[in-house]
């Protein structure tokens, strides 16, 4: 078990820089999820920790030891791959025990460990099968068992659930969390699926274009997104954004169509500053005309079973509202939009950064 310290790490291929200035501290036994769209560098970062890719600049330390120059096998990491990467010609048992075989563990001891590990992930009856004869979920379990058996200091997961169907994905998600709660190994999990991120993580790392946008608990990231990017990435359906300009009193924002949104006293941007107002669909509710802070044009509604997703427009900006109650407005009807005052997120129009006097506490928690 060990903590991971990433200091100013970067990755370049030839002259292209795909990642730079990555600073991240992962505590011992913590489950950290790196979340981002494809191509944001999250997998590269994981592979740099694993030792499968070179670290172009900066350094990575595992358990206090700088591992930049160490081979993967010397770093004490185990990895679960996206496509499982099982050895197709070996049985499940041989797959699970291969690392121990390479490490020259005596056969009897090895087989006992394989049996125990297989038991813990429910694979006992499949030990003699080949991976080709297993279902996706079972293969995933083999991949997990192969990682667990080595008792690694660090578990690395490279989008391990993305090849499973939706139901199995939820099930394996719980399984991974259960295993983590049992063995408490430091874990780094890479995914582009925000649900996986939110449910699994002790802390979330949101990446974009090779840099870290925000680090924080799932709750912090959801409640206080550090930038427009994070705000739009986390949450489903995605947050609504309305462009506007701060008025001369610095206490309210004037939207492009002249409507006014008052700001909470904690936020005091400069007069005339261009901003983006962020409103989460689930914090909004509909009202008859005159019944809310804003007015909007009703477009159409989607039935979701548990609730309804209403689509509106303010000027030409689409707004979605997630609400439980049923409304029957006609298309094009002008209606009111209600929301609590503290549901307003304000971001700088140019940089996209959050304008907030109390930023999410962990956002800049790298110790100096």
């Amino acid at each position: 078990m060990a903590e991971i310290a990433i200091r100013n790490a970067g990755k370049t291929y030839g002259k292209t820089t795909i990642m730079q200035g990555i600073n991240l501290d992962i505590r011992n036994g913590e489950f950290v999820v790196i979340l981002g769209p494809s191509g944001c560098g999250k997998s590269s970062l994981l592979r740099m920790i694993a030792g499968l890719e070179e670290i172009s600049s900066g350094e990575i330390a595992i358990g206090g030891q700088v591992v930049n120059q160490l081979e993967p096998r010397e770093r004490g990491c185990a990895m679960v791959f996206q496509n499982y990467a099982l050895y197709p010609h070996m049985t499940v048992g041989e797959n699970i025990g291969y690392a121990l075989k390479v490490a020259r563990m005596p056969k009897a001891e090895r087989l006992a460990k394989v049996a125990a590990t297989a038991q813990s992930v429910g694979l006992t009856e499949f030990l003699d099968r080949k991976p080709g004869q297993l279902s996706g979920g079972q293969r995933q379990r083999v991949a997990m068992a192969r990682a667990i058996i080595r008792e690694p200091k660090v578990f690395l997961f490279d989008e391990p659930l993305s090849n499973l169907d939706a139901k199995l994905r939820v099930q394996m998600r719980h399984e991974i969390r259960r295993i983590h709660n049992q063995i408490h190994a430091t874990s780094v999990f890479v995914t582009h699926d925000q649900h996986e991120g939110m449910t699994l993580a002790d802390r979330l790392v949101v990446m974009n274009k090779g840099t870290i946008e925000q680090i924080g608990t799932p709750e912090e990231v959801y409640e206080h997104p550090a930038s427009v990017y994070v705000a739009g990435f986390i949450g489903s359906p995605a947050m609504n954004f309305l462009p506007g300009r701060v008025d001369d009193s610095r206490a309210a924002v004037v939207l492009d169509d002249g409507q006014i949104i008052p700001l909470m006293s904690a936020i005091r941007p400069a007069a005339g500053q261009l901003v983006q107002i962020g409103l989460r669909p689930e914090k909004l509710s509909l009202a008859p005309l005159g019944g809310g802070a804003l007015t909007a044009r009703f477009d159409f509604a989607e039935e979701l079973g548990s609730g309804r997703l209403y689509h509106l427009k303010i000027e030409d900006v689409p707004i979605s509202v997630m609400a439980a109650e049923k409304h029957s407005f006609g298309e094009g009807q002008t209606i009111g939009l209600r929301f609590p005052n503290d549901a307003v997120h304000v971001f700088d129009g140019a940089s996209g950064l959050r304008l907030d006097l109390h930023p999410a506490p962990t956002a800049a928690m790298v110790p100096a």
Binding site: A50, G51, L52, P72, F81, Y84
Partner: protein, 309 residues
């Protein structure tokens, strides 16, 4: 393709049967000729049904051609070529696919180009090298003036020589040094997913361990295919042994021996052509390659059924 086209089915079967007959007929004729005695085989019209003399003809041809030791020779060479080729091709392809070094593609293309230069095309230079395998080094020494230098300093004239004529090594090496196998392995290795390589690295397996534990088991069917092709290829060699084996008593190969039995104006000297012996010998020489193909076929089929690559 699932279609109901009885007429087309019938036509394709006819074509198939005609093709089969075309292939089978010469072999059948050879077999029939091997079962008759000298008089019957030379009588017109050609016999189309087997006679009673197969065993006697085979015995006579066996003794006449000294096939006992020649079969052993050929087997040694064929097995040598198979083992050499499978090993060499595997290692070269492994290096070309899984390691990143300067000039990798250049080396691949150099190897690839040799596909266009079969042994028959470069037979004279190959013979020159086989006559003295160290001659390229001698040339280098001479050209750089090192030979003269060494001679003036030590008084010893450097004359490197390693004669491969009349040896198994000389028979085997030129047949091993071709690109076919390397290319076959390379194409297969390229289909091995990167994740598998990385999983092995994470499991702590070094490159050789990965080659031995993962790549070779996965390429079993490729090895079987390559081994079969190379065995038949080496067994059927005629020109190369004819050229470098002058000591036919000790190093003769069966195919060359066989050609001696085939009657022409020199060997029969105007006598009656002994086609029955030539054909009996042909049958015997044909057997090992056929046996190998039939035996190895099981592996191909197994490889085709097991699609869990």
């Amino acid at each position: 393709m699932i279609e109901r086209t009885p007429l087309l089915n019938f036509a394709t079967h006819v074509i198939l049967l005609v093709g089969l007959a075309l292939v089978i007929f010469p072999i059948w004729l050879a077999f029939v000729a091997a079962t008759h005695d000298l008089r019957a085989v030379n009588s017109a019209p050609v016999e189309l049904w087997p006679g009673p003399h197969l065993w006697a003809n085979m015995q006579e041809a066996w003794v006449l051609s000294d096939f006992g030791p020649k079969f052993v020779n050929t087997l040694i060479v064929a097995v040598g070529v198979v083992v050499g080729k499978v090993t060499l091709a595997c290692i070269t392809a492994f290096s070309l696919v899984f390691f990143n070094y300067r000039g990798r593609m250049l080396i691949f293309w150099l190897i690839f180009i040799t596909l266009m230069l079969p042994l028959e095309v470069r037979i004279v230079p190959t013979y020159a090298v086989a006559a003295n395998a160290l001659s390229p080094f001698q040339v280098m020494l001479d050209a750089t003036g090192l030979t003269g230098l060494i001679e003036t300093v030590s008084g010893i004239r450097v004359a490197l020589e390693w004669n491969l004529l009349n040896s198994y090594t000389g028979m085997i090496l030129p047949l091993v040094a071709t690109a076919t196998g390397t290319f076959l392995y390379r194409q297969f290795f390229l289909t091995v997913p990167d994740e598998l390589v990385e999983a092995a690295r994470m499991d702590g397996a070094g490159p050789l361990r990965f080659l031995w534990d993962t790549l070779i088991p996965l390429s079993k069917t490729n090895i079987a295919a390559l081994a079969t092709i190379m065995f038949v290829y080496a067994w059927n060699q005629y020109l190369w042994p004819l050229l470098i084996i002058t000591d036919r008593a000790n190093y003769g190969m069966v195919v060359v021996q066989l050609s001696d039995l085939v009657p022409d104006q020199f060997s029969t000297g105007g006598g009656t052509p002994t086609w029955h012996l030539a054909m009996a010998a042909t049958l015997m020489v044909m057997l090992p390659p056929i046996a190998i193909v039939i035996f190895m076929q099981r592996w191909f089929v197994r490889g085709l059924i097991n699609t869990d690559k």
